[in-house]
């Protein structure tokens, strides 16, 4: 394709370099035997992985990040899936308005949402940081939960449920044998996407943190600001490896493109 469309091909190569090459440099410097973030790395060693894994602030905040990501994913699905059902299967006037209302956290900058929650819930109402972090992350994930599970339902025919009811199935039985199987891939995609979105989040966690509830990305930002050693490169490489595993799981189960097909719209 390169000979036939030289301009487009050149731009594409530049784009891929900008997207991918910095990530490769992170991995390369993580394996250095030297003391500083330097390129080319001095020697080969796994010492910085050992240091990162035994550095308490990283490991402590990793646990916090996982707790927040798991709980807020479950919460977002627990309140989001019923909303999807109401929008796509319920007797709902103004369905479009309701759907947009649930997507609205996406259009307000996350830093602004973080500031709002900080001022109103932490400062004014004196709620602890951890519950507010959960509330904030869940509000952020709600649009993904509603939209991604909604995509699974929108593509299916409601007359399937009507047929089941007509044949004498109870509403509960109809839900578990017809609606739930239709929803399942959507719920799985939404869960993956929500977990990753929460785990990687910076703006909300930054504004809502306390010393005890710092998440891993924030701890890494702080660390980079203080010291210039390859420990952050090592923890970054581990995060990269975990992300690759999640991507492969996503590809093998629901398909990568399917999960992200809805993001851009």
């Amino acid at each position: 394709m390169n000979e036939r469309r030289p301009v487009a091909a050149t731009l594409a190569v530049a784009g891929y370099i900008i997207m991918i090459v910095p990530i490769l440099f992170v991995v390369a410097t993580a394996f250095t035997g030297g003391e500083t973030l330097k390129f080319p790395p001095e020697g080969f060693s796994l010492r910085w992985f050992g240091e990162a894994l035994s550095y308490q602030p990283f490991m402590g905040s990793l646990v916090t990040s996982l707790e927040i990501a798991i709980i807020s994913t479950v919460l977002a699905l627990a309140v989001g899936v019923p909303v999807t059902l109401a929008i796509h299967r319920g007797a709902l006037p103004g369905r479009g308005i309701v759907e947009n209302l649930f997507l609205s956290p996406l259009i307000v900058p996350e830093l602004v949402v973080g500031l709002a929650l900080f001022q109103q819930l932490i400062v004014t109402f004196r709620i602890d940081n951890f519950p507010v972090l959960l509330i904030g992350h869940t509000a952020l994930l709600l649009p993904y939960a509603v939209r991604v599970t909604g995509a699974a339902l929108a593509g299916s025919d409601p007359s399937l449920e009507e047929a089941a009811r007509g044949l004498g199935a109870s509403p509960m039985r109809t839900f578990w044998t017809i609606t739930m199987p239709l929803l399942r891939p959507g719920i799985f995609s939404a869960a993956l996407l929500s977990f990753i979105t929460s785990f990687n989040n910076v703006p909300l966690s930054l504004l809502l943190q306390s010393r005890e509830t710092q998440t891993l990305p924030i701890t890494m930002l702080d660390y980079v600001q203080q010291s210039y050693d390859p420990m952050v490169a090592a923890i970054s490489t581990l995060i990269l490896a975990a992300t690759v595993v999640i991507a492969v799981i996503a590809e093998r189960t629901v398909g990568f493109a399917k999960i992200f097909g809805g993001i851009g719209r």
């Binding site: 394709m1 469309r5 487009a8 731009l11 594409a12 530049a14 784009g15 900008i18 997207m19 090459v21 910095p22 440099f25 992170v26 500083t36 973030l37 330097k38 627990a78 989001g80 019923p82 059902l85 109401a86 319920g90 007797a91 709902l92 209302l101 259009i107 307000v108 900058p109 830093l111 602004v112 500031l115 709002a116 929650l117 001022q119 109103q120 819930l121 509330i135 509000a139 709600l142 449920e161 509403p171 839900f175 990753i196 785990f199 990687n200 910076v202 930054l206 504004l207 990305p217 930002l221 990269l240 992300t243 690759v244 999640i246 990568f256 493109a257 992200f260 993001i263 851009g264 719209r265």
Partner: protein
């Protein structure tokens, strides 16, 4: 399922969450931050829109946002076009490579630029090693570094959005234009580009909104000399604890995003009917 009562019951927990976790705090913030008068916010807002220091930050944020938008669409559309229109055994891998960064932490992705652009980084070492310069040039903590970092962050979003736009244009139309004697360039310009325009507008909006609100990149790559609205907002709310200024900055940021989204949805609708 069909009754109004059940529907209301299904919506209730979600609505409660949305109110407590988003709508009420966001609205309350504009009216009364703790210990501050609403009037103070608007006084501060007025100052920011006239003070040269604050205006420079707003201007820098806008300019960087615009440059990143142009670069991301300029690189992202050709990539999406090639991926959609020249199927080869590599296109699946290349598409996956373009989507994958969306899953990866912004901190990890941005950190890479410290290794590339830092004073002991790859570019500096390469240039001095080749004897092209005596001393590594200052690349980190410059607007260029922010632009590169934000381009890396938002290019995948531009590609994915443009890709779904291009795949919706019937390839038969390309063939028809080519068959009628249009050159490859003309087919692209007069057929593919106008038909994918709504998608391009959406991509540009998403990239712009992301760039003017991103925090990690200006924080790590901009240093203290290249402040943007996002880093200012954090300083006001968590370092100097200046609620009025924090709220005013938040208003400016939100209005920027809303105005651009509004303009683009009008442009997108016109483009779709034209």
């Amino acid at each position: 399922m069909r009754s109004r009562f059940t529907t209301a019951l299904l919506l209730l927990p979600g609505l409660a969450f949305l109110l407590v976790g988003f709508l009420v705090p966001a609205l309350a913030m504009l009216l009364a931050p703790p210990g501050t008068d609403t009037a103070d916010i608007f006084v501060r807002l007025g100052q920011m829109l006239t003070d040269p220091y604050d205006l420079a930050i707003i201007g820098r944020t806008l300019l960087i946002g615009l440059i990143v938008t142009v670069v991301c669409v300029g690189l992202g559309f050709p990539i999406a076009y090639l991926l959609a229109r020249t199927p080869s055994r590599w296109s699946g891998v290349l598409l996956a490579l373009a989507i994958f960064p969306l899953l990866l932490s912004n901190v990890v992705r941005t950190f890479g630029w410290l290794v590339v652009l830092g004073s002991n980084g790859a570019i500096g070492q390469l240039l001095t090693g080749l004897g092209l310069v005596d001393e590594a040039p200052q690349l980190l903590y410059t607007p260029l570094a922010i632009v590169l970092g934000l381009t890396q962050l938002f290019l995948p979003l531009a590609i994915v959005t443009c890709y779904s736009a291009v795949t919706q244009v019937d390839p038969g139309l390309d063939d028809a234009a080519r068959g009628l004697g249009a050159s490859r360039g003309r087919t692209f310009r007069d057929v593919v580009l106008p038909l994918s325009l709504p998608g391009i507008v959406v991509a540009a909006t998403l990239v712009f909104a992301g760039s003017v609100t991103a925090y990690t990149t200006p924080y790590l790559l901009g240093g203290s000399g290249n402040r943007m609205l996002s880093t200012q907002l954090f300083t006001y709310s968590s370092v100097t604890i200046d609620w009025a200024s924090a709220s005013a900055t938040a208003i400016i940021m939100t209005v920027l995003v809303f105005v651009v989204s509004g303009i683009s949805s009008v442009v997108g609708r016109k483009g779709a009917t034209a």
